[in-house]
Amino acid sequence: MNFWQRSVRQILLALLGLFAIVAPAAAQDSYPNQPIHVVIGFAAGSGADTLTRYFTDKLQALAKQPVIVDNKPGATGNIALRAVTEAKPDGYTLLFSANSNMAGSRYLFKDLPFDTVKDFVPIASFAQIAFIVVVSPKSPINSIADLTAFLKKKQGALSGYTNQTAQLSTEYYKQLAGVTTTPVSYKATPDAMRDIVEGQLDFMIIDGTFGAPQVRQGQLKALAVTTAQRSPSLPDVPTMQEAGVANFDFSPWWVAYAPKGTPQPIVDKLQGWMLQITELPETADFLKDVGAVPQHDTGPQADARLKAELPKWETLVKAAGIEPQ
């Protein structure tokens, strides 16, 4: 190669180098300029999916780019978590997940290839789903006080659950109220419904998305909601705290996450959008239909909130006797 060829080559390389520096900055300014993928650990059509699609719809309008939902169900949400930690932290792959997944996975599984606190950057929280304590409509129990008294007397009472959050929620109640029950697990909600209505189960803690319409239509009797405030979808149902179980606040709340290493300007932009969406009155309306309320934590607030909850989860997993896998 002669002198001229070498020089041209060097100049071109230098220019390319300049572009390399400029390009990411340009990407940040023009974010987003590609479709954004939101990964969730639930299958299409589930309550979580319904919830997510409302928000991605609104996000799409604000971001002016398609926002696609990637359902990656499996391993209690861990498949989705892993997928996001393996994605490039450029703001085009996000995760919508609940504290139950982020906190629960930490203590329910050993040897996960990621750390749920360190490997994700919270963007904003956006919804909290109330869980409802229900009994059969035929049951003589009408309040949490009744239930506690009943459980203290009955030997071998049965409680049901369809997911781990409900299971741990039940443990929490048992701990605070000082009762014991035999937990019965259900893979599918219809089976659980059948057994609670027929009275095989003494009570159940069920998620609000499915439970609220059932309660409103008289298929189930609600005793209390597990959130600290009353749920707008069931305004007549007292909270656990009102019903006498002090300090009870155990419900999944949802947060949007980005993988660790996502540039802060992008995270801030997304945070702004998410907070905008949660402020809309339409959002409160929609969430009411699915048994949820909007949340407005910023990223750092959500982070702190999760960290504060971790010890509670750790003790509950131990109390439920679940062996970490």
Binding site: A44, R53, D289
Partner: protein
Amino acid sequence: MEGSVAGLIHGFSVALDWHNLVYCLIGVLAGNLVGVLPGMGVLSAISILLPLTYGMPPVGAVLMLAGLAYGAQYGGAICSILLNLPCHPPHAVTCLDGFPLTKQGKGGTALGITMMGAVFGAAFGILQMIFTAPYIAKIAFSFGSAEICSLMLLGLLAGSTLAKGSPLKGVAMTILGLLLGLIGQDADSGIERFTFGVLNLDDGIELVALSLGLFGIAEFLRSVNNIAPIDTAYAKLGVSDLRPSRADMKKAAFPVLRGTLIGSLCSLIPGTGPTIASFVAYAAEKKISKTPERFGHGAIEGVAAPEASTHSSVQGDFIPTMSLGIPGDAVMALLLGALIIHRIQPGPRLIIEHPDIFWGLIASFWLGNLMLIFLNVPLIGVWVKLLMVPYRFLFPSALFFICIGVFAAKNTLFDVGTTLFFGLFGYLLLLLRFEPAPILLGFVLGPRFEENFRRALKIAHGDLHTFIDRPISAVFLALCLLLVGTQIWVRLRGPKTRVAIPTSVLDTE
């Protein structure tokens, strides 16, 4: 009764509205297409179409999505019969007798009978929904964990007769299916079984991957070496083969009826979907038949009964969903999700608060099935001609669709790898003359049996008598004993000896 008729008339007026008619048409067309493409399930298709429904009026949205659900059943039989490739698990049993029929040149007949079964099954399911919806719920609720456990046991015992060869091999394959069903996280204790630390195995092996691998890919691997003879055999198909003969229709009539009844029973019992319905219908036909050795070699009953049962089961699945708001399976859960997004609360009050949706849906079932018949029957000839496409184009294309379909189930390439693995494994089984069908049975029924067994015991506080104390469960267990008992009795009695005609009788005349 009058209320139902009035509601139905109202429903037709809703369903026949131009917009709704078009939505219904799109739904059934998409469903049919999804049914024909191997692996790509209704679930994936609905999740793709769901965002499109946000802007639509709720009635149209529900009609379209429902059309997808039952339309998919129409396409599923095609590949099973013509290519020995079950596009979806409910049609796996149809391969057993459908493909031999195709090899005999009667593929078109099989498809025709399938359509017949489909219409009858769907019509029965719809009528059931119109007139018996409230009573259905009561029946469904009396099936507790103990009952379902005993039913699953009955199914497992009966199903080991699915194999056409040695019963011992059939039992071995069923047990293999049971073992494969163990893989995954145990629902009760959260303990991972046989996952070897692989996160993707936490939920077990994907059913679609297993069925497509064992049936489709294994079959491809076997046929690849035998291309020439099959090419010429298919080319001999004439037009007359496309319409089922009177004799065939007569033979298929009762199986269709029986299959339909089994399908509707299965739709009532939570957790038993079209897959189980098709297996049970096939096993029942084989047991009832006077010539069970014909099954597996092209018995038309073996095609008619399972297909009728899947259709009636799918239509019946709508009942608990629409009348109680309790989804029977994932597809119904999606449908309910679509309703919730449109601010409609599912539940017993749906029929009162939104008669448009309830009765419009039922009316659209009639219209949709009608549209599907008009679409599919003329296309039978086209599908059969597909067989004339040279193998070297047909198989790679089918493999391509299989990979896409399997990937679409959970958005992961792991499942595609699983399909390949079971394809190779299934080929090995075929070489050793084992039948893959009972594996699927064990795989589907086994986990449900275990789950319900443990739950029934928990509820009864460890008392095994619960299975006998509860009447329905006791009946199923008695049937199990009867089943095993008759098998032993027949064996002990020895093979049926030919009646020895005294030579003296022959000598006269």
